[in-house]
Symmetry: C2
Subunit: 254 residues, 2 copies
Amino acid sequence: MTQPDPEDRHDSHSAASTVADDLARLILGEMTPGTSLPSEADLATRYDVSRLTIREAVKMLEGRGLLEIARGRKALVRAPDGSAFADFLTSVIRYDAKGLFDLIEVRLSLEVQSATLAARHSTRAGVAAIESALQGMREAADGAIDLPTDAVELRFHSFDVGFHEAIALASGNRVLGYLFEAMAQPLREGFYISRRGHERRGHTIQDTIDAHQRILDCIKDGNGRAAADAMRFHLKDTERDIRAALSGRPLRTE
Amino acid sequence: MTQPDPEDRHDSHSAASTVADDLARLILGEMTPGTSLPSEADLATRYDVSRLTIREAVKMLEGRGLLEIARGRKALVRAPDGSAFADFLTSVIRYDAKGLFDLIEVRLSLEVQSATLAARHSTRAGVAAIESALQGMREAADGAIDLPTDAVELRFHSFDVGFHEAIALASGNRVLGYLFEAMAQPLREGFYISRRGHERRGHTIQDTIDAHQRILDCIKDGNGRAAADAMRFHLKDTERDIRAALSGRPLRTE
DNA sequence: TCCTCCGAGATATCAGATACCTTTTAGTAA
DNA sequence: TTACTAAAAGGTATCTGATATCTCGGAGGA
C-alpha cells in the first residue's frame, strides 16, 4: 500500500520540475546557507533550457523555502526554517474543524518534550530568555489589570508565545524549535482566542502568569519530569479555554 | 473580484510574489482540494499582469505544495500532505550531524503519542492495516533468515516503515500522520542503516518482529500506556542500533 | 449505443526586449 | 591619499508574441 515512492512529489516530465529537483538535490546535498546560485543566464546555458524555465524552477524552490530571491542579486541558499510547513498546517486547520484540536494535541506532546529537555540541559542564556519573556508578560499585564485593551492583549499574547518559543529553543533540539515555529503561526489565532475563554471560565491573567512561573521554576530546578507535568497541565488548561471560547461563538466567520 | 490595487506594482515584493500570496490566501481560505484554479490567461487579466507573472506565482504555489499542475489542465488545489516539509527536514539533517538524532528524538515523542492514541481509539480497519504490515515483515523475513539479500532487506524495511505509518494513521490525528510522512523520508536512510547495527549488537530479525508484535498487541488491547511503553522501548532500541551502525563506519560519504 | 477523431482550450517552452535594482569600479574632488 | 559620487556592469523582474504539445468534450460515423 504505502510503497516507498521517492518521486511522487512532481511528475518530473516537465523541464522546469526536472531542473528544480536537480537543483534541490544540489542545494540540499552540497551547498551551505548563504551560498549563491549561478545566475539565471548561466544556469540556462548549463541545463540547455531557456531562461524562463530556469526562472520557474527557481521560483518553485523559493516556494519550497530553499532559496531567497531578491531583485538584482543572485539567488541565495536559505537556512532552514519552519515557514515552509506553516501554510500547510494552516490548510489542515481550515479543511477540517477537528484539525485545530489535532494540532493542539500534537503541540502538547512537543511542548511537553521541550520542557523536559529544557529542564535537563538548558544553558544560562536559555533560561534567561525564558525569564525575560515571562517578565514581558508581567509588564504587559500590569498595564491592563482593570481594562485590558486589544493592544495590551496583543502585547501580552506576543510575550506568551515568546515564552513557549524560548522553551523550545532552550531544549537544545533544533527540530523542536523549527516545528514550534511552524505550528505557532497557524495556532496563534486559536491561542489568542483562548484568552476570552480563560475569562469566561473565571480565571485571571495572574493565573496564566502563575502557570508559566511554575513551568519556569521546574526548568530552573532541572526537574524534567516536573517541568513536563507543569507544561502539560498548562496546555490542557489552555485547550479548555479555547473550547470554552469556541463554544460561545463560532471560529472565524471571515 | 480581486480588483488589482494600483500600488501593488511598487510593493517591496515582486508582482509574482504578491499574486502568489493572494492566491495562497484564497486557496487556504475558501477553496477545497480538487477545485481548479482559473486558467493562466484568466488570472493574467484579473490581476492585470502578464501570463508569465501568473506562471511564476503558480509555480511558487506548486513548490509550497498547494497546487498540482499538469500540462493541458487547469491547476488543481491539492490536499495537504507532509511532503512540503520533507526536504526542509532533510536539510536539517545534512547541515548538522546532531540533526539526525534531534529528529529521531522528536520522532520518538510523536510515535509514542501515535501509539497511545491508536490504542485508545483505532478502528477495526486501522488495526487491520497495522497487522497487514506486520504480516508483510514476517513474509519478507521468512525468505531471508539465512542469507538476507539487499532486495529482501529493502522489502522488510519497507514494511517496517509501513507498520509505523499505519499506527500514525490509526491514531486518528491527521497532523500526526502528516508529520510522520514528512519525517519518514529523511529518516528512511538512517533506519535502513539501523539493521546493520541491529545485527552487530547480536539481535535478529525475529527480535524486531517480536518488538512490533508487542506494540500491536497493546494497541489491540486498547492499552494506551502499555502501547506507549512498547513503542518507546522499540524506538530507543532502534536508536541504539543506529548509533552502533554509525560508530562502525561514517554515514553517507557521498 | 459506443467508439473514434478533431478542434478548442490549456499548459510548456522558447526568443527577444525593456526596466529597474545592486554591486563594483573608475573618476573626481578634498 | 582618502572619501565621495557617478557611471557601468551584471542581475533579476516583467512584458510581448509565437509555437508545440497535451487534455477533454463533442461531432460524427459504425
